[in-house]
Assembly symmetry: C2
């Protein structure tokens, strides 16, 4: 493919906002026009076709080239934008990306505003904080989420979100590990693995990357993988309650998983970002399982508990007794990554996190979670009443089965006919094909309106 073809070809790895056709078409503006101050003027814009672009001699990272299409959610944003171009007057409802919609409780925003104001005072100003997070917040996370689980507060690394920590963990592991992932699952696990060079090429026929173990999670196995058929890998990404299926692993299942990891000497990266959405019976942390601290890292986030998707705050737990094969503590290397590649979460966001974990904050978060769970129930009942098999209930996502159909076709059908954005199940892995994920993040009136439209479409 020539340079010019590449510049004008459909963008395969982009978000909607950036590098859309219209942006690239405006590229001719980029022809060098010297700044006036330099006092040279030799340049006349030439038609793009005739221009010979300068290329560096730096080879593109081959791992980047392996990535398929766009990162899922920017691709959905692109299709959403295209739909709005086609139907400018459509009353579009987004139950796609899983973006929180309800205001952050005032007890939390007040704490952030207060911290912001304090930063303009001599007494209240603070610069660089500990890369690992403020001590008070680490302590509060520890006592709130890991009470009685012998997690130490200095096992907790505060971050700008679980997604960012997943990539930092991949940098920590490096290129030479093998990994397993639930199929379907949150696409950042696979994509970050590809970027780090842990995988081979994408195999179009099976829609899988070489060297990744896709652990099938379907209604047939109750959305828990048949571990007896999963080969050993170094790393096992496991999200519970799962995004996108909404399935929460039971204590027995997680005990199996920890046993499996221990037998294989694997490290579990346990994503508990939706733990507050599950029932009291299901474990809320992998560390509730005996022995898990020797084999598991846990990552979580305030995003879906307190509406912090834009504020950015999460954490990762790396127990000190989790050791590499040579006995070196994983936490030491993760600490080095955090100190070298990160400079701590925003101090204002951290003040918000601390407020989240106050008694009023916890109550407020419970209310937020409860609200979205009601949405989950409304959507589940809607599809159930239409005769669909519906899964989930333990997460702010509903997983609807359209047996035998292509997910993107269903996505398009729903978008075209109801102006509701969902997420195609195949975007989460090949076992997600035939499903769509409906996010329960939405204002109540929008969720009800969307359900009304679903009923009209599928009655």
């Amino acid at each position: 493919m020539s340079v010019m073809q590449q510049l004008s070809s459909p963008i395969s790895s982009s978000s909607s906002a950036f590098l859309s056709h219209s942006n690239f078409n405006s590229r001719s503006k980029n022809v060098w026009v010297p700044a006036k101050r330099i006092g040279i003027c030799k340049c006349v814009a030439v038609p793009q076709e005739a221009q010979t672009a300068y290329t560096t001699k730096v080879s593109r990272n081959a791992n980047m080239a392996k990535l398929q299409a766009g990162y899922l959610f920017p691709e959905i944003a692109r299709r959403r934008a295209a739909h709005l171009l086609k139907y400018p007057d459509a009353q579009l409802i987004s139950l796609g990306i899983g973006d929180t919609t309800e205001p952050i409780p005032e007890v939390i925003t007040s704490a952030m505003a207060k911290r912001a104001h304090e930063l303009s005072t001599l007494e209240g100003y603070s610069g660089y904080g500990d890369e690992q997070g403020e001590k008070a917040l680490r302590a509060a996370i520890c006592s709130t989420f890991y009470s009685g689980l012998t997690v130490d507060q200095d096992d907790i690394f505060v971050s700008d979100g679980a997604k960012c920590d997943i990539s930092r963990l991949q940098v920590l592991f490096g290129a030479n590990v093998t990994m397993a992932v639930q199929d379907p699952s949150y696409p950042a696990y696979v994509d970050s693995s590809v970027i780090m060079g842990q995988t081979g090429q994408f195999q179009k026929d099976v829609q899988k990357f070489q060297r990744i173990e896709y652990m099938k999670c379907t209604p047939e196995n109750g959305f828990f993988p048949d571990l007896s058929s999963v080969p050993r890998t170094d790393i096992i990404f496991f999200c519970s309650p799962n995004n996108p299926t909404g399935a929460a692993a039971t204590r027995e299942q997680l005990t199996q998983l920890v046993k499996f990891a221990k037998h294989n000497g694997s490290i579990i990266v346990y994503d508990s970002a939706y733990a507050m959405y599950t029932s009291k019976d299901n474990p809320h942390s992998i560390y509730e399982i005996p022995g898990a601290k020797e084999v598991a890292i846990e990552t979580s986030s305030f995003s879906k508990y307190a509406g912090f998707t834009g504020v950015r705050l999460g954490w990762t737990v790396v127990p000190k007794i989790l050791l590499f094969s040579d006995g070196f503590p994983v936490a030491k290397d993760f600490n080095r990554i955090v100190c070298t590649s990160f400079n701590g979460a925003s101090n204002i966001a951290q003040a918000g996190g601390l407020a989240c974990l106050s008694p009023e904050g916890l109550k407020a978060m419970d209310d937020v979670v409860g609200f979205y769970k009601e949405n989950t129930n409304i959507i589940m009942e809607t599809f159930d009443s239409l005769g669909f098999k519906v899964y989930g209930g333990n997460a702010p996502y509903v997983w609807v089965h359209f047996p035998g159909r292509n997910s993107w076709d269903v996505f398009s059908e729903i978008l075209e006919k109801t102006h509701v954005v969902t997420t195609p199940g195949s975007g989460f892995g090949p076992a997600g094909d035939g499903f769509i994920r409906v996010s329960a993040f939405g204002h109540r009136k929008n969720v009800l309106e969307a359900c009304k439209r679903f009923k009209q479409l599928y009655k």
Copy 2:
């Protein structure tokens, strides 16, 4: 080294706050005590010496093992803490890490507080923003810092800081690039390169990593490398005004650098985080140099302009016409990294950034920068009056020459005898040995007091 030795040996890659001896000694608390809710109780704490630790079968990332000692600044924090243990009553003054000390101007914190409050309203709430940053902020950065330089606003990726972007850029480049770095320079360039596997082992005799080109910048060459003796590399990290030397490259020097990169087909990663500290004559952006957009990425930050070290906000410019050897735009891959490994800077911090770029905000930032520059002058004059050769002036750092002496010895001497924390020059690269960096970030009274003590010590 046995597991137990590793667990109790001095921590080589840690920050002071985490994994200190006292933390690790408390590790015995980590012996598994089942949570009450599980209803099993079989565990009796055994002496640490007798315990056989479980190790996973995951190999430690060999690149992590190449890293030397701690990341510089955590190591200094560790020594500072040790000093305070020894002298609990010392009036310690920190001119070490380069951490801002002056309050954030109220026009900026008010905007952040306002945004925080708005997040608790239906109208003002926002969740996930564009990973690349809010459009208004990208536009404001573009028009403030790149006016007349034909940088497009969608070339700008807003981030949580330049340090974080440096690591994301390294992930983008991957393991197979070669890199050059100013010697001395900000340690995150080298350390992130090591982590990504771009280097060989550390060579103790020359204090350099294999496969990195250390471009010597000393008083002899006016702190600009002799490019005729620098071999070609894929990537060239270049910071101007430089941290730690405070040297700002002239237009002629940067023109040479761009020509050098273009001749070699290299990509420059230009760190302009201190650009506002330099005189009007020196370029404030690499894009002031004709042709730079074809070979250069620029990264910068609000940290040192507005005291945002704890708030976290920066940006990186990747021009669309910067191309890999196969013609693929670097910006497309960087966009993919940003979308996969990052979720945008905190929306509250972005509101602060926008306020920074308002007319009042710009004036306020100018005042902050002006204040620290006065500190720079005070420190420079002090060491000058004591007969030292002093360099800098274009950055909030003063680079003091102690010919023939070991930097860490000088660091220790100053700490021991004046209770002032500085930074040893060798922490920035082998050519930094014999120097110390004195940060100009400090309250005026502390800077004056530190200078008084310097005068007593070196009179």
